[in-house]
Structure formats: structure tokens, C-alpha cells
């Protein structure tokens, strides 16, 4: 049985948790920080992207690049089931997106590129085309727009998809379906598009 002793460290953690709880429940709000329940679509999209980008980077660097290229433990492959390999980072991202889409239509996310390995991932809507152009010119700035798709209105955000690991560029540059073979580390290889549903 594990017993927790009241050490200075634990007391500090408890105080931190209490402070965070207090802030969440009723801390003072400023005019540029929307109150809970009134989060703007842009903040929502930015927050989602922060999570997605971080998880994707961790997977690309600490799982795929480390295990495949550095420690040479296991390969990552497009046909990961047949080859008993790791899914590619883009596949991980897409599988997550598909799982989310099965749970909710309140938001969605996808990877698109002007140089996709799978042609179905080319930009299709005006916002996607404009967004990819925008983030290609200025990768540090997201692109925001509103668009109507079918009967629904969306807040659409496009963020640069940066090559964060040598595994990314090695795979894309060597793939026979890739329209480009000259990607370098840090290049914007495409974009992450996040859509927030605005209509009920």
C-alpha cells in the first residue's frame, strides 16, 4: 500500500492545484481573455492546434525518428500493419482526425498540402488554397477565414505544417508519389486545417 507523506514538495503541489482550481472557478478575467463558455472560435482553433502540433512533434521526434533512425529498433511504414511497423506521423494524425470525426462534428482537422503524397489531400476549398499560400509565405502566422460548406458555416484556420524531424523529409523526398523531393528540415510541407462549426 502506498502512503503519501506530507513533504514540502507535496504541500507545494497541493497549493499549486488549489491555485489553479481557484483561477478556473472564479479568478479575475481581463477584457482580452474571454470568460469560460465564451471562447472565440479562433482561440479554440489555436488551442486545438497547439495540442495537435505538440503531439505530432513528439511522435515524429521521440517515437519515429528515435526508434527508426537513431536506435534502429523498428521501422515506420505506410503499410504498418502488413510490415509490423510504426504508423507514419501523418497516418497517426489522420487516424486521430477520423476518430474525432466519428465522435463529433463540432470541429474537425486535417492535413493538406500543395505537394501531397495522396492526391486527395490537395487543397480543395478556397479557404484551403488561400490558407496554404498564406502559411507558405509566413509559416509563423496562422490563416483564418469563414467558409460555407454544404449547409454549414465554419470558422477555418490553417497552420503551417513544418518538417520537424529528419524522418519527415526523408520519407516525403523518397516517396514515389510525392511531387517534391527537395524538402528540408524546417520547411512548411503543407498545412493543418482546423474547422470549427459555427451553425447549430
Amino acid at each position: 500500500m502506498i502512503r503519501l507523506r506530507s513533504t514540502p514538495c507535496l504541500r507545494l503541489i497541493a497549493a499549486g492545484i488549489f491555485a489553479i482550481g481557484l483561477a478556473c472557478c472564479g479568478g479575475p478575467s481581463t477584457s482580452d481573455q474571454p470568460e469560460a463558455g465564451n471562447i472565440s472560435p479562433q482561440i479554440m482553433a489555436d488551442a486545438l492546434h497547439a495540442v495537435l502540433e505538440s503531439d505530432r512533434t513528439v511522435y515524429a521526434r521521440q517515437v519515429v525518428h528515435r526508434l527508426q533512425d537513431q536506435e534502429e529498433v523498428i521501422l515506420a511504414s505506410e503499410h504498418w500493419q502488413d510490415e509490423k511497423a510504426l504508423p507514419l506521423p501523418a497516418q497517426m494524425f489522420r487516424m486521430g482526425a477520423e476518430m474525432v470525426a466519428n465522435k463529433t462534428d463540432a470541429f474537425s482537422y486535417a492535413l493538406i498540402s500543395k505537394w501531397p503524397v495522396n492526391k486527395q489531400n490537395e487543397p480543395g476549398t478556397e479557404a484551403e488554397i488561400a490558407g496554404l499560400d498564406s502559411v507558405a509565405n509566413n509559416p509563423s502566422a496562422a490563416f483564418y477565414a469563414r467558409e460555407s460548406l454544404g449547409d454549414a458555416e465554419y470558422f477555418t484556420a490553417v497552420y503551417a505544417d513544418i518538417a520537424v524531424s529528419p524522418a519527415c523529409i526523408a520519407c516525403h523526398n523518397a516517396h514515389k508519389d510525392s511531387p517534391r523531393d527537395d524538402f528540408e528540415l524546417g520547411d512548411a510541407m503543407g498545412g493543418v486545417v482546423i474547422r470549427i462549426l459555427l451553425t447549430e
Binding site: E98, A101, S108, G124, L149, G150, D151, L197
Partner: protein
């Protein structure tokens, strides 16, 4: 006078409509209400309207998935609904909601139903892949109605047809090697029996039910060798003795097999509480003398001898009378089966009907690798390329497998001789790999 006649007609019509409604909701035979002939995949259960329809709500998508989802997931569905959920496809979905099975597989529409029960025009691939020649110049001049019918692509299951698989298995390989089917190890799914082999003297049947021929058959069976006594089936769980235990009794131990049986055309009627399938109901040619059989476990597996060898060929051919089945006896596959049965061939070297249509599958169950017979004989039947990986490639090269399954005449003769045509897909894939 005219008013009375109108009242009479109105009364008759009302009563008739009422009777129709009563028959619809409470009757067992609802075929009167079928809007059109049911496809070969569903006609056996067409009287069980509720299996697919919800009252006043049309077809239930979850009803389709209840039977087909596991198969689609195993097939790594190339066009699963999750592929189309992105809002960017909203306009495309407004034209054709590809997330719904009935968008492509409308039922009771024989006038527009094609292969695989598809009710779209045969060139349906064009709507999304119309510019395929931009990426694949090799496809120049190919008709869009041949994408899925020439042995190159399937809409759902491309596990044996995707480009890198073609490349990996398309290099020069021997067309045929000796068969070596895996041996079954998963016949018991319930409690593990600790009784040793039993003999005729161990039969625990009551005297009135102790026919010597049945006891002798059982004493030489795998059941007796595995310690399964008479009472384990005829008086299971301390139930009173029954000379004819219910068919579901087998599933107590053979759960995987029974599940597969009720998912395929031999047993699918049982899954919706209809009477068992009979060859008389079949749309395929059957032997006249077999028409009145009813299909359950004991139809193919004699319940006392439980001879799986008889079930693998003889049982099939006692009912099926189509050209493919009739040609089996003269086929190279049958030669191998005869050699194994006579002891000349190695164990697992023969090719029976069951080798291909009820194949042995590997499954992970609670961490254990189980090899069991897939008793859903339709699971790998259509499109027939589903057989390539788990069945054909056990002995044959990918190239020969693709060519043979695309050759209707070769199938009709039960693969007597080599395929007459050649599917170009492997050549195209290899060319593109060498000259991307």
C-alpha cells in the same frame, strides 16, 4: 344506389388495408410487401424485415454494420465512412452520401443491381478519380467501368491489390509450391476438459438411446478422444436427456465456428430467428435429392463421427451442383486432396472445398494464437480477390492468383489448366517502381 356502392368499396378497401397492416406487423411471411427482388446476399432473410428496416424510418445503417462492419474493418476498408466525414466533402456528400451503405447498395432494385449488389453506374469511380491518368499514365485508355471488374481494384478490400503489395510479391516467384495448411488448434472455446480419451465402454447414454452403431461411431470420433461424453451434448448442464439436442448446443464449445456459420449463407437465417436454410431455397444449382435437407452443424458434420474430412468435400458436393463444384473432382486441387486422404500426401497438403471456402484463420484470443475454421463461407467469396492472401498465396504466386481469379472460365473449370488472360497490375506497379 351509387352511394351504397361507394360505401361498399370503401369498406372493402379499408378492411383490406387493415388486414395488410396486420399481416405486415404481425405476420411471418411479409414477402407480399417486398418492393422488388432481394439481392442474393439478403434474400434469405427478406422475411425478417426488421433485420434491416426500422418502422417508418427506412434502412438502418447500424443494421448493415451489425453484419458487415467486422468484415470491413478486417479488410482495412479503403473507402470507409470515416474517410468522408471531413466537411470539405460536404458538396460531394450532398450528391452521394458515401458514408451510407445504401448510397451504393440499394436493396430490392434488381433493374439497377450489378456485381457485389452495387446499384450505381459501373463507372462510379470516375466521379472522384476521373483524373487518374495525370498520376498514372499507364491507366490511359482504360474504361472506368473496368476498375473493379478486371482484377485490379476493389472499392473496400485492397489488401492484396495495393501497389506496394504488388511490388513486394510481384517479383519472379514460383507459380505454385506445395500446400501446407495450418493445423487447427481452436475447437474448444468453453471449459477445458480434463477427462482422458473415452471408449465405447464409457458411453453414458440411457439404454433406450444406446444404439450400438452410434456408440461405435462416437467411440472412434474426436469427441471421444477429447473426453466428450454422450451426456455432454445430450444432457448438458444437467438438463434432461434429449435424443436430439438443439443445434445451438454445438456452440457451447465451438463458439467461433458457430458464429461464422450464422454469419454466412448456410446459417444466416438462424441469426434472425428464421427456419434453417435449405438447398431448396438456394439460387445456385443444387442436387435434387438434397433439396429437402436443412442446414445446421449436423448437416455437414455427422454428429457422432464428427468427421471433418467428409465435411471438407463430400458434404459440400452432396448439395452443390454448379459447374465449379462439379468440376472439382477432375481438378488439380482434388488430386492433392486425394493424395492426402490416401496417406501419400503430407498432412495439410490437400486442397478441399473447405481449404478455399472455409479457410483456417489465425486469431488472437486472450493472447493465444488460435487457428480455427472460418465457417462463414461467404466471408472471402466476393469480391473473390479476398481469397488471395489467406488462401491462394498459401501455394501460388500473387501473379497467378490474380490472373486465375479474374478468369471466369478458369473458375468454372475449377482451375483446370492455367488462366488464359493476364492482369497487368503487377507489371504496371513494377514499371512505376523502376521508373517513377
Amino acid at each position: 344506389m351509387r352511394r351504397n356502392r361507394l360505401a361498399f368499396v370503401w369498406t372493402v378497401a379499408t378492411v383490406a388495408a387493415g388486414l395488410c397492416l396486420i399481416a405486415y406487423f404481425f405476420g411471418r411471411d411479409r414477402r407480399l410487401f417486398l418492393p422488388g427482388e432481394t439481392t442474393s446476399g439478403h434474400y434469405q432473410i427478406e422475411r425478417a424485415c426488421d433485420a434491416c428496416h426500422a418502422p417508418f424510418q427506412g434502412i438502418r445503417q447500424d443494421a448493415c454494420l451489425a453484419c458487415h462492419q467486422a468484415d470491413l474493418q478486417a479488410a482495412e476498408d479503403s473507402h470507409g465512412p470515416e474517410k468522408f466525414n471531413d466537411p470539405r466533402y460536404a458538396e460531394d456528400l450532398a450528391r452521394l452520401d458515401a458514408r451510407q451503405c445504401i448510397a451504393c447498395h440499394a436493396e430490392h432494385r434488381p433493374e439497377i443491381t450489378g456485381a457485389m449488389g452495387v446499384t450505381l453506374p459501373e463507372d462510379f469511380c470516375r466521379s472522384c478519380h476521373g483524373d487518374v491518368t495525370e498520376e498514372r499514365p499507364t491507366h490511359e485508355g482504360m474504361a472506368f467501368d473496368s476498375c473493379g471488374s478486371a482484377g485490379c481494384h476493389n472499392y473496400h478490400d485492397n489488401r492484396a491489390l495495393y501497389e506496394d503489395f504488388l511490388v513486394r510479391h510481384g517479383e519472379a516467384q514460383p507459380a505454385t509450391v506445395a500446400a501446407a495448411w495450418p493445423q487447427r488448434n481452436a475447437w474448444i472455446s468453453g471449459e477445458t476438459r480434463d477427462a482422458g480419451p473415452l471408449g465405447a465402454g464409457d458411453a453414458d447414454s440411457p439404454p433406450a438411446s444406446s444404439r450400438p452403431d452410434l456408440i461405435a461411431a462416437w467411440a472412434n470420433s474426436a469427441h471421444a478422444a477429447g473426453g466428450v461424453a454422450c451426456s455432454d451434448c445430450h444432457a448438458a448442464a444437467d438438463a434432461p436427456w434429449s435424443d436430439r439436442p438443439p443445434r445451438a448446443m454445438c456452440s457451447a464449445c465451438h463458439e467461433l465456428e458457430y458464429q461464422g456459420f450464422t454469419e454466412g449463407k448456410h446459417g444466416m437465417r438462424l441469426a434472425v430467428d428464421l427456419d434453417p436454410m435449405s438447398p431448396a431455397m438456394a439460387r445456385l444449382p443444387m442436387h435434387p435429392e438434397a433439396l429437402n435437407e436443412t442446414l445446421d452443424c449436423g448437416t455437414c458434420h455427422d454428429v457422432h463421427t464428427v468427421n471433418v474430412r467428409e465435411a471438407a468435400v463430400d458434404a459440400c458436393l452432396s448439395c452443390h451442383a454448379d459447374e465449379h463444384s462439379a468440376a472439382y473432382a477432375d481438378s488439380p486441387h482434388a488430386r492433392l486432396w486425394e493424395r492426402e486422404m490416401s496417406g501419400e500426401g503430407d498432412k495439410g497438403s490437400g486442397v478441399s472445398c473447405a481449404s478455399c471456402h472455409l479457410p483456417r484463420e489465425e486469431r488472437r484470443i486472450a493472447g493465444d494464437l488460435r487457428i480455427a475454421v472460418q465457417h462463414n463461407q461467404n466471408e472471402n467469396l466476393r469480391p473473390n480477390e479476398k481469397m488471395i492472401r489467406e488462401v491462394c498465396m498459401t501455394c501460388h504466386s500473387l501473379a497467378l492468383s490474380i490472373d486465375a481469379l479474374a478468369d471466369k472460365e478458369n473458375i468454372r473449370t475449377n482451375f483446370f489448366g492455367m488462366p488464359s488472360g493476364h492482369v497487368q497490375s503487377i507489371d504496371m506497379a513494377l514499371t512505376r517502381t523502376e521508373h517513377p
